[in-house]
């Protein structure tokens, strides 16, 4: 029973990590750590400016 609940927790945490990565939340967190900034409108605007090229250059497949 404990093994099952541990496996469920691992799967749930992996799923959450995947979603945070796909939706760029992790990228924003890394940006805040790298630039030693707190979360704010200005910080997010800076992050968006930095990411603009990689986001807009990211093709979406057919």
């Amino acid at each position: 029973m404990r093994t099952i609940s541990k496996s469920v927790r691992i799967v749930a945490s992996l799923l959450a990590s995947a979603l945070r990565e796909i939706f760029d939340e992790s990228a924003y967190r890394r940006f805040l750590v790298r630039e030693q900034l707190a979360n704010s409108r200005e910080s997010y605007a800076r992050f968006c400016r930095e990411r603009v090229h990689s986001i807009s250059n990211r093709p979406r497949c057919c």
Partner: protein, 681 residues
């Protein structure tokens, strides 16, 4: 003991797969359960992943767990980031899964469920997955270089230039085709048009919410966006029932085409954070959820397939698109089995996230298997419909007639009974005025999906909601492909034009933005307009053109892969990429030959132009003649470009094998990984 268990388990998988395959392939004249297809697919994928991808990993690519990847060596917290393999898998799958594997199999179902399913399975396991996996690993070993850079380094400048031109060409045709799918799904549909129109202000709202209210909370904003979209779906019903408002949102194909062209231009020129990024997040959110829901629906419901294994249209006389089973089933399925476009993702963002070389197998090979599973679900969704209903939705007015009675009589005369009243009642149940002549695959897929969903959840009462949910789901991420594709093509043009006039290369200079965005939109807009005006529905000419372009890009990717494998002194294993390459060359070149020179006017562009020229002269006719000749020229240019890459690659292979050419590969030098030590610690 472990080995004995492994042998027993895998023998059972092989036997189960073969038994299910026999059930699917041999049974004729009676409907079969979709579960058989699911079992065949699962066994094929399991065997392909366990044995074939392992063989490629060990014998050809020699994946090295001790070699540091670019994510580790060049980590910068931005593009190069060491990431968990399952997270990269999700990221890669979200990027490669687009509308193609949903639409292609639905169109290919006109041949019956069997040909399409077989190609989806065989093509993916032996071709598409191999391409994605090999290109991903090769890019990882080259600091995450793109396909065009690898083509230039390994096959010469000509290869690099052609790969670059092929990417732009495929993008333009892809954008036109996906825009046409949206137009056909929304024409004369106030409910659908309202829902999709509402996704634009919802995306703008999400952009502002993310920037001003809750910075960086993307999952939260996407959940909010999703709830608002669901509200828009429910509100759409009210709009469609209000005579005045329904009139405003009931648009013709030409009006919708113009609006989409304007939208494409605006989306390309607007700041990324305002529209593109939020819509992209919302679309990915909906896409992942819906695909999971569809898989669960098929698993629980185990629907019966009403489409026969083969239809009479394997002879090339199909109403959905013209052309015989060979080569057109392969061109039509496209992304569900092999997609050249994936090689751009495999050599784009993904290689910069891989932590260990050994993970490329799961991400490259595994994610393509998942995409192939989506294609199998699409063919199931199309095949659960009664064949008469399927052909009534997917046949253009130019073939079956516009009047419901005429169309129903024509389709019934093919051996697929359907009545006008049956279609009218189906249209009413999904909240549409009519379902005849709704070409493009999206409405048929939406009806099939609504059928599966409503039988699992909510019953007939929710059929209309599920139908419009499916239409919203398809249109939402098609518009995302349109936004992102227009912008990527704009950047590529800006990059090329900077050699002619340097300021045009500045991506934030407005005259350059307007000029290049306008050019890209004009190019795909032209093909879209041509499709909308085509009396045969547009898909007859545009989808094969898209399929050919996509498979030609895969040909370029497999040429690069084969060249590198031969240069790595593993020529005896080069068949692994050479055989899919040879198959794609034969398929695409044959299809191109038919599309250009076939004497049947519904297949050959030139024959169609000749037929039109023999008819009465009119401005509309003159335009159709020009369009057909243009399509023939585009196909010929694509084939010519890829022929050059194939010839250049062959010269390199022969030179290396005869020892007259240096066989140096352009890999980054080996650096031992420190991650394994850190992870152990």
């Amino acid at each position: 003991m472990n080995k004995a268990i492994s042998i027993t388990v895998w023998s059972a998988v092989v036997i189960l797969g073969m038994a299910a395959f026999l059930a699917v392939a041999v049974r004729r004249g009676e409907p079969i359960n979709a579960l058989w297809l699911v079992i065949v697919a699962t066994c094929c994928y399991a065997i392909g992943y366990r044995f074939y991808s392992k063989f490629i990993s060990a014998k050809i690519l020699a994946l090295d767990a001790l070699r540091a990847t670019p994510a580790e060596r060049l980590e910068n917290g931005r593009d190069f980031v060491v990431t968990n393999k399952w997270v990269v898998f999700g990221h890669h799958f979200a990027a490669i899964a687009g509308p193609g594997p949903l639409v292609g199999p639905v169109l290919a179902a006109q041949f019956g469920y069997l040909p399409g399913t077989l190609w989806i399975l065989v093509g993916a396991v032996l071709g598409g997955c191999v391409q994605d996996f090999v290109i991903l690993l090769l890019s990882v070993r080259r600091d995450g270089k793109s396909l065009t850079e690898m083509a230039r380094d390994e096959t010469g400048r000509v290869g690099g230039f052609v790969a670059y031109a092929a990417v732009i060409a495929i993008l333009i045709i892809l954008l036109a085709v996906v825009a046409l799918i949206v137009v056909n799904a929304l024409k004369s549909s106030p409910w659908g048009t309202f829902t999709i129109a509402m996704t634009i202000p919802i995306a703008l709202l999400m952009g502002i919410y993310l920037r001003r209210v809750r910075p960086g909370k993307v999952l939260e904003a996407s959940t909010l966006g999703f709830l608002l979209v669901m509200l828009a779906i429910v509100g759409g019903r009210w709009i469609s029932q209000n005579p005045h408002l329904a009139g405003i949102f009931t648009l013709s194909a030409t009006t919708l085409a113009l609006l989409i062209i304007l939208y494409g231009f605006a989306a390309s020129a607007l700041p990324v954070w305002l529209l593109l990024a939020p819509r992209d997040y919302l679309s990915t959110f909906v896409k992942l959820g819906t695909i999971a829901l569809l898989a669960l629906g098929i698993g629980f419901l185990r629907p019966t397939l009403h489409m026969p294994a083969f239809t009479r249209f394997i002879d090339g006389t199909g109403p959905v698109f013209a052309g015989k089973i060979f080569p057109f089933v392969f061109i039509t399925i496209a992304c569900g089995a092999v997609s050249g476009f994936h090689s751009l993702i495999s050599s784009g963002t993904t290689p910069k996230l891989i932590a260990h070389e050994t993970e490329t197998r799961l991400v490259g090979y595994g994610a393509m298997l998942a995409e192939s599973a989506v294609a199998v679900m699409a063919i199931i969704a199309a095949s659960v419909l009664q064949p008469g209903v399927y052909f009534a939705i997917n046949s253009p007015a130019g073939i079956v007639g516009e009047a419901p009675q005429t169309a129903a009589t024509t389709i019934s005369s093919w051996g697929f009974p359907v009545t006008a009243s049956e279609m009218e009642s189906l249209a009413r149940s999904v909240g549409e005025e009519k379902l005849f002549n709704r070409t493009g695959g999206a409405p048929a897929f939406a009806v099939g999906m609504a059928n599966i969903f409503s039988r699992s959840l909510g019953g007939q009462a929710l059929m209309a909601i599920w139908y419009h949910f499916a239409i919203m789901f398809e249109a939402l991420f098609i518009l995302t492909v349109l936004d992102a594709g227009t912008r990527v093509a704009r950047f590529m043009l800006q990059d090329a034009f900077r050699h002619l006039y340097p300021p045009l290369g500045r991506t934030s200079w407005y005259p350059s933005i307007f000029f290049t965005s306008g050019l890209v939109v004009a190019l795909w807009g032209y093909f879209l307009w041509q499709g909308v005006k085509d009396p045969l529905g547009g898909f007859n000419s545009l989808w094969p053109l898209f399929g050919i372009a996509n498979q030609l890009l895969a040909t370029v990717a497999l040429c690069v892969a084969t060249t590198i494998i031969i240069k790595m002194h593993r020529a005896k294993y080069a068949l692994v990429t050479f055989l899919p390459l040879a198959w794609l060359v034969s398929v695409t070149f044959t299809a191109s030959w038919h599309k250009i020179f076939d004497p049947a006017p519904r297949i050959g562009f030139l024959a169609q132009a000749r037929l039109l020229a023999a008819g009465p002269a009119s401005p509309a006719n003159a335009r159709l003649i020009f369009n057909n000749r243009l399509d023939a020229v585009v196909t010929a240019v694509l084939i010519l470009m890829v022929s050059v890459v194939v010839i250049e690659s062959t010269r390199v292979w022969v030179g290396v094998l005869l020892g007259t050419r240096e066989s140096r590969v352009n890999e980054s030098p080996f650096v031992a990984t420190k991650l394994a030590v850190q992870e152990r610690a």
